[in-house]
Amino acid sequence: MTIDVSNILIFKTNIQTEFDKLRLKYVLDASHKVLKWSIDMEDVDHVLRIVSDSLTPDQIISVLDYVGFECAELD
């Protein structure tokens, strides 16, 4: 499957533990607008990568904010 790169959103987060990741999973897996997601736990910025053809960066930031995570778009 090829992904349109303009549908890939990249964020810096404070998601650090496996428990954080699990909480994140509940939120992201629940949205059918999130086509794919992954997080690089090893990276200093704990980079979250989301593939979505309909969500905006602001929408994702507010969802993460709602569950208590810091999140900012990386550019």
Binding site: V5, S6, S38
Partner: protein, 196 residues
């Protein structure tokens, strides 16, 4: 809009190989790589899901390239002497042309991604080489020995010479340069020990 740029991607891979060889697996990070490649961290994450994804792709890419070059002009039905000679020539040409890729592949092969990388990249290659040696044994062109014995005699000497060359010196610090003449001289002895 961000776009996927194949030139940029090639540059990223080149820098990643350089960094892995220089700093090792532990010293490698997506941040450092983005900096060295002159791109943003975000762009790097567009290309690769995470560090593991990048490492696996680099490893399988190198492996595939190695396999392609090694099998060029080679056929598993070749006479043993001719086929092994071709293998030596191809492997030497690859090692001389891509020393950093080889060093990087070795690092990745010994990491925890090693199995995935070798399984993915060497698909078909192992079978071809196995058919080649089995044919050779059947045709009485090669003696039957355990595979480890075969490999260390058939390829060990070549890789030792290539390592000397890469280091620029051989035992006791003697200056050394790989050449066709030295390769052929060594090859003759190898062939002698492996043929009935």
């Amino acid at each position: 809009m961000r776009t996927r740029d194949s030139k940029k991607e090639a540059l990223v891979i080149r820098e990643a190989i350089e960094m892995l060889v220089r700093d090792g697996f532990q010293g490698f990070s997506m941040n450092k790589l983005a900096q060295a490649s002159g791109i943003s961290v975000a762009t790097l994450y567009i290309y690769y899901r995470d560090k593991d994804d990048l490492i696996k792709k680099i490893g399988t890419d190198i492996g595939r390239k190695f396999m392609e070059k090694t099998l060029q002009g080679f056929d598993s039905k070749m006479h043993f002497a001719e086929g092994l000679k071709k293998q030596w020539e191809n492997r030497a040409a690859f090692a001389l042309k891509y020393p950093r890729e080889i060093a990087c592949y070795e690092i990745l092969r010994h990491s925890n991604h090693g199995e995935v990388i070798t399984d993915e990249s060497l698909k078909g290659f192992k079978e071809t080489m196995s058919v080649f040696t089995h044919n050779a044994i059947k045709n009485k062109e090669l003696i039957s020995v355990p595979v480890e014995v075969f490999w260390s005699i058939a390829y060990g000497p070549l890789y030792t010479l290539l390592r000397f060359h890469e280091e620029g010196k051989s035992i006791g610090g003697r200056p050394f340069k790989f050449s066709k003449k030295i390769m052929e001289e060594t090859f003759r002895l190898v062939l002698k020990s492996l043929t009935p």
